[in-house]
């Protein structure tokens, strides 16, 4: 036998000792070591406004609109580029206050407070990295600059289902351009409603 796992012990022990030191830290010490690693000004800060999302599979006769927060058209905080990209990708799948007011008839509105919307999260990951030392294991790692934006979305047309919407969004040129950006390091995540 090659005793592979056993031979890993010295390297793992070094990390474990650091880990124990971190585990034994007081909350104040932990917050300090976290603060030393975080540049608060670079934390993504997106503006949201009231908007509506129409849940999937609701036909025209039963179409409801759930009140929620969607990305605003004016983004001034950190991470605004990603937020603007996402907002425009989902513009057909979310309804702004103005678009809602323009709807004919008396559309049914429900508060969406406890409702889990379908969400799209896109993350831009820079190709350049800085080398950091982990405050938990002491090991060094390469950290890229990352910006994420998330937005709820719903059906574009009545009685559309979630898979169809995902297929459509996946077909949007801007989506593919984004995902291929940064040499394909950019990421996307679709989560369903429920």
């Amino acid at each position: 036998m090659s005793f592979k796992r056993i031979k890993q012990y010295p390297a793992l022990k070094a990390k474990y000792d650091q880990f124990k030191l971190w585990e034994d830290q007081t909350p104040a010490q932990r917050q300090a070591s976290y603060a030393s690693k975080t540049i608060e000004a670079e934390r993504a800060n997106h503006s949201r406004v009231e908007g509506y999302v129409s849940p999937f599979n609701t036909p025209n006769t039963e179409r409801v609109y759930l009140l929620t927060k969607i990305l605003s058209t004016t983004q001034n905080g950190a991470g605004s580029t990603v937020a603007n990209t996402l907002r425009s990708l989902l513009s057909d799948y979310t309804i702004t206050g103005a678009q809602f007011t323009a709807l004919a008839g008396s559309p049914i509105v429900l508060p969406g407070r406890r409702y889990r919307f379908a969400k799209l999260t896109i993350t831009s990951v820079s190709t350049t990295t800085t080398t950091q030392t982990s405050r938990i294991t002491g090991a060094s790692y390469k950290k890229p600059s990352v910006d994420s934006a998330t937005s709820p979305f719903g059906q574009k047309t009545a009685a559309q289902n979630y898979s169809a919407a995902v297929t459509e969004i996946q077909g949007i040129a801007a989506f593919n351009t984004f995902l291929a950006g940064n040499n394909g390091k950019n990421r996307a995540r679709f989560t369903p409603e429920g």
């Binding site: 889990r116 990951v125 394909g184 390091k185 950019n186 995540r189 989560t191 369903p192 429920g194």
Partner: protein, 87 residues
């Protein structure tokens, strides 16, 4: 933030537990991997809402290529338990 986390100010939990279980894909993914991501996240949602049981959820994770699915779900359950025990 969940109510428990707000009160203790110690632990962060997302409003939607699926955030702890969902996966993403990068730009170098294949079509199969992309739809695998959609399927994994759907399975997570179904498990959280009780539509499928944990056995089926773990089976689906394994089918879509998540190595060691039990480890991930175990970590999730531990975190939830940890949050509840600190309430």
């Amino acid at each position: 933030m969940s109510k428990i986390a707000e009160r203790t100010g110690v632990i962060w939990t997302p409003d939607d537990a699926l955030d702890l279980l969902s996966v993403d894909v990068d730009g170098n993914c294949s079509q199969e991997e992309f739809w695998g991501m959609v399927a994994i996240n759907q399975a997570g949602r179904d498990w959280l809402t009780g539509k499928i049981d944990i056995v089926e959820y773990l089976d689906k994770l394994e089918y879509y290529g998540v190595p060691n699915p039990f480890e991930i779900v175990d970590e999730f359950a531990e975190h939830v338990e940890f949050v509840i025990s600190h309430a």
